[in-house]
Amino acid sequence: MKTLRGSVAVAGVGETAYYKRGDAPDAEAKLALTAILAACEDAGISPRDVDGFASFSNDRNDPSRLSAALGCRELRFSSMQWGGGGGGGSAAVANAAAAIAGGLAECVVVFRALAQGQFGRFGQGPRRNTIAGEFAHTIPYGLMSPAQMFAMKVVRFMHDHGVHQEALRAISLAAYHHAQNNPRAVMYGRPLDEATYDASRWIVEPFHLYDCCLENDGAAAMVLVSAERAAEFPHKPCYLLGAVAGSHHRAGAPVHNTPEYASSSFPTLAPRLYEMAGIGPQDVDVLQSYENFTGGVLMSIVEHGFCAPDACNEFFVKERFLAPGGDLPLNTSGGNLAECYMHGLGLVIEAVRQIRGDSSNPVPDAAVSMIISGPMVTPVSCCVFGSEATL
């Protein structure tokens, strides 16, 4: 089998300060450049040496303009993963890695810049008089925001498997717990407890306010290079063990008609990721699982084999998810719920920091660090990083 395993390493990671939507002092394009420069500095390389870019979810910052602004020596690879939402986070890593492994480029930046304060909030419906196409069959019934698009999947899953609200709550509490040790986190200094979660308003059942991701401004970036070069950079080497993207072939069936409805869209991907990475769920030391909404995390964790679908109430308890000592430390930067919603690229960076040992919530001796990107959309993606010992 052809594989990306061990072929690519992370040279550096970086991000801007993270802001509440509307609070960024800089334009989105400048945020993108700032994050890329930070990642290059972290890697100890000149931006001149960057020769490729990969992003996702229709990022507005065209690689040709980035390359021109950064003074790159040559632009050799520019890639956009199809599909909206955060499902392209690990896919952008996969595309960048494939470009390097295939000789298309040598030093590829994976990036995402997002200023919801400048370009419109994800959590609000469209302002227009008429609607045509697929959305004509949902929006006039009041189904228009991401929370509303996904809640019915989670309702059905929770119904089928008897999952209680407390299972979703555990995911949220773990994220907020970790954010209290992370000065970058938008929710740093704003802890969450059970009573506050329970008393918080419904957005759409089964999502309380704290089950929903933030809306932020900022940017994040990482620099990928060929694995042979891993020792050239200042940080402990971090290797890509596997990365896959896709979904059930009918995941995009219109108007909520996908056959695997009560799903995070990962049943076809998880086995391929484990096969490529040469690991199983029991080998994962720390997990970053994209929270658009906690229900997506729950189904992702089930579909990656960490927990049987009918065992969620026992499995999803906060203590299990806390670094450093939990069985499965989860979203250790605070994630999309409490660090920043940078469309999940912050989760990818956090996974790298766990291998390097410089997370704000380090898991001791983390060797296998996994990311699940963008549950419930299509296509979705996931990837695994490993330390040198895992090669």
Partner: protein
């Protein structure tokens, strides 16, 4: 029915410019539910597509089906994300499967008390919500529990 389920002012549906779902909207105006059906393999699909996803034939039509369905899933919305719904309060969205049309699913609202307990699997029947004063006029397909 006289009163629409949701407050007026949301984007109103119009047929797609490519005509793909035009028969569906025209059917609702006449209180008919027309679902895409394949003349080649007798398969059903929803929403409408250009070829049959079962057999790849483009010999597709729209067939009238009865307004009997079952609740496949639902959600109760509390937070308004559109100004038209600012004073709406909670409302119920249902995903209804149609057993007589290959269990294709349609999105609508569940009429009645928005705070009612909703049971997955419960039988529902169609209610046509006409908006004759709108420009252009349109009809929504709503659902209520079968008595």
């Amino acid at each position: 029915m006289s009163q629409p389920y949701l407050a007026e002012g949301l984007p109103q549906p119009v047929p797609a410019p490519d005509g793909l779902d035009a028969p569906f909207w025209a059917g609702l105006a006449e209180e008919k539910i027309l679902i895409q059906h394949c003349h080649s393999c007798q398969g059903w699909q929803w929403g409408p597509e250009w070829i049959c996803h079962h057999c790849r034939s483009d010999n597709l039509g729209f067939e009238e089906v009865s307004g009997e369905g079952r609740i496949y899933s639902y959600e109760r919305v509390w937070h308004p994300v559109h100004p038209a719904l600012k004073d709406q309060g909670p409302y119920l969205i249902v995903l209804v499967s149609l057993p007589q049309a290959g269990d294709v699913r349609l999105v609508g609202n569940l009429l009645g008390d928005p705070e009612q307990t909703v049971e997955i699997g419960a039988p529902v029947r169609a209610v046509f919500e006409h908006h004759p004063q709108a420009d252009p006029p349109f009809t929504l397909l709503q659902w209520q529990l079968t008595a």
